[in-house]
Symmetry: C2
Amino acid sequence: MVTNDRGIRRLLLERRPGVLHVLDPFKVTLADALEKVRVIADLDFPVLILGSTDYERFEAQMTPYIDALKDAVGIPVVLHFPPRPGHGLPFTRNADAIFCPALLNSARPYMVWQSFLDTLNAFHARGIAPAETPELIFSAALTFGADRRSYEAMQTHPMPEDGEGLWLFLEIVRRMGLDQSYLYSRHQQVPPEICALFREHTPSDHLVFVSGGMRSREQVERYIDAGADYVVFGSALEHPGWRESLKRIVC
Amino acid sequence: MVTNDRGIRRLLLERRPGVLHVLDPFKVTLADALEKVRVIADLDFPVLILGSTDYERFEAQMTPYIDALKDAVGIPVVLHFPPRPGHGLPFTRNADAIFCPALLNSARPYMVWQSFLDTLNAFHARGIAPAETPELIFSAALTFGADRRSYEAMQTHPMPEDGEGLWLFLEIVRRMGLDQSYLYSRHQQVPPEICALFREHTPSDHLVFVSGGMRSREQVERYIDAGADYVVFGSALEHPGWRESLKRIVC
């Protein structure tokens, strides 16, 4: 299911498997982001993800940031941020797509799915017709390992890591017909066997992302061999020696 | 969770437990409906449900029908119909609330929840602001017993009837924070123990409805004793001797 198809999910399906970079625009200066996005576009990454758990003054900050990135290179930009009650998901008109997180293991129904209704109402309130929004890609967002920040921001509990515990989530993903699963570990790493379980028990056009602690080409290969469609790295490039780090992941 | 609170869910919470009538406006003539709604208003039912699996020319048919009912008596009108892909849930502006069915045991994600997005987009397309829509009440709609018509219209499978099989659905209801569960059997009757399970494993402000095959006060009492908030009867009144049938249920 895609709301307002702008070709981003289709692009991700066509170009899988691969690696993607998630860049935190509230941490990375625009000058730094421009350098990174040029290198990433040269490497032919299909999209750039902009994401963070934290944000403020979203639209004022993000609109010129995204404009500048898009002026520099043609890469599509995907937003990946948590919702805020009463506002829904943050967005800008110039983003190409939004990964809409269904935080299935959150204690708050708002984080599980109700934010999507708020988001559509926010589009309405802002006069943005359904055909003019960024593409909405619905994503089971599941966090593995202890993660106080995700709990504080989104009341998400760490996922179970055994097949029996995961069955509930695979059932919900399948019944809701979510477009993708985004498996994330903030402080540890997602076990590759969990990627394999998601690959095996979701439809072939369901995308499986894995993120957290990615540092080497070997890790990436292990996840892709296990069935991940995209391995996403972020903080690996959040230091001055990022060009070297990038080489270790993509070469 | 209620979208655009118009007091209908609060009224249902305040007035529980009780009985409700669901009237099929595509089967019952307006003249007949007017007679019934007057009797029902005299009995102080909190709302009238208008519902059916089938419908056509919804708004053209329903708008004057609802206007006429509301002119005759002050009872709030709640819509309860399945969605249609590309259109979402059918609605009229003059309805007070919509029971939005989350058909959790449907093979089609559209019927599980995606129709809600279509419905909000339809409001937008029609220029109806979020604050002007009927109240949206999100309802786990679960059918018990073989039911070919529900399968054909909504690809819903019959629900399991054991605690283990029901656990998945109770988990989904709780995680999604649905406002109510609507337990229905077209050709048989919902086992009262299932009402008890839903009452026990959902929050106290979650409403439990049960419907299908209601013919007597004893049945109603059995369901209410088991924990149902509302017992809903429909076809019991679809014949010329409906006044007698109504007496058997409410007296």
